[in-house]
Amino acid sequence: MFAFFAVLSEDFRSPGGVANWLDPASTLGIMAVAVALLMIGGHFDLSAGVMTGTTALTVGVATGQWGWNIWAAIAAALALALAIGFANGWLVTRTGLPSFIITLGTFLMLQGLNLGLTKAFTGTVVAGGIASAPGYAAAEAVFASRFTIAGAQFRVAVLWWLLITVLASYVLLRTRFGNWVFATGGDPVASRNVGVPARRTTITLFMTTAAAAWLVGTILAVRLTSVQANTGTGNELIYIVAAVIGGCLLTGGFGSAVGASLGALIFGMTQLGIPYLDWDADWFYFFLGAMLLLAVLANRLVRRYAEAARR
């Protein structure tokens, strides 16, 4: 994918171009990695996209309307996100209903709350004034600064993305919890039978996704300093697409964090590579759909192989 665009466009392969397409890939990648963990654990979170908006708006309203210190606002947003994630996980494990339906419910509820509460507090559909909050400079350094490599300015979100990917890979492959994630997604009944705390694992995964949404929401809030009430809506499926392109099975039990990151990378490249080639941006979704299909077909081969001798 990189080679394709790099050969055709000089801007695309320049350091500045790289910085450009790494930017959308980074915020998407943070979410895609968390969503991939959740998918490996056998669940979906459709509320992940809108939750980035919820957390960003929380930061926006708390600083811009109530004059909070930005760190207090960020902490409050984290607590809120974790509570939502816990609620998602608790409902899914308690009821045994498909997470698709449960999180579709929370997705719609949050979408309504985002709009309704933002209007109620600010009178508009934008929560702004984040830049004037106390502590903003420090928060900007952590969440929205830039650094320079080879003359190009990279956003710090890229580093967060790398960190999250490395951390997630480590947890998945080198810890007990990671083993439980694969097992819970592979077969929840079998894993509970051998003593895996499947319910706790699922709830933790939903809270992890929520925490990732908080991180992305905070990055957006601090970077843009004003937040639209519809922020993040519609992204939830793109996270899942990135995770699937990266090799996650929709049925759970298989996938990787690095794969999801690569999926996000491919997404970022395609999204900005097409304008670089002066193609019509409409082609973007065609590319994305084609890659999704290819990825799913490749996944099917993996599954066939793994179950070849199954009786």
């Binding site: 080198r174 007990r176 694969f182 592979g186 077969d187 509970r192 051998v194 793994a306 001798a309 199954r310």
Partner: protein, 267 residues
Amino acid sequence: MSGGAPAGTPLLELRGIGKDYGSVIALDGISTSVRAGEVTCVLGDNGAGKSTLIKVLAGVHRPTRGELLLDGRPVSFSAPREALDAGIATVYQDLAMIPLMSIWRNFFLGSEPTTGWGPFRRFDSVTAKEVTRRELAAMGIDIRDPDQPVGTLSGGERQSVAIARAVHLGARVLILDEPTSALGVRQAGVVLRYIAQARDRGLGVVFITHNPHHAHPVGDRFLLLNRGRSMGDFAKGEVGRDELTTMMAGGQELTELAEELERPPGS
């Protein structure tokens, strides 16, 4: 019905165990014992209550009536984890392993060895692979590569790995749910050999099956179930293979069915 069982307290003893699902009596008045180094076979046709009995022993369900004694002391499990910690390991027919995960990850699932300290505590994959290879070899199971997904193993190999896992993780009572029913003759023989191995290592084995031909050669004690009730609890000398076959639910009906089918057409 004490038969020729050795002296001492049984590892596991069931006294009048019963289980209701709402108003349905799934199991009633089941009594038997499991001794170290012995195989207790639970025989019964479909719907006889075998799976309910397993779930009670494995801690999935709490019995509605009766007592479960471990080392002579009454116990009550509210989760499979508690039964496991007490040394009762259950190997389920289809649900023993996660097909997409590697053998070594499956082997230690739920009981992963860790190394390191505090937040840096991690899954000790080197030890896990090493121990998996060694334990499987000790059971005489020849696995080419512990990294291969369990889904690539045959049904018999999977049961064998699951038995080896239970033995390694310190099980004292091993419950096997129909380990041979989905297997061909040769593979079933392989699994029966591992059951005997586990028995020789001093475990008490509960072997659940509907096949008296599999049960009779390895069993020391036979509990027959029919429609949730016990049809008898026999020691090995008290009952022969043919008697077992006849007494199993359907034995009588099977004879009748055979006669019926044998009737020449048109007569």
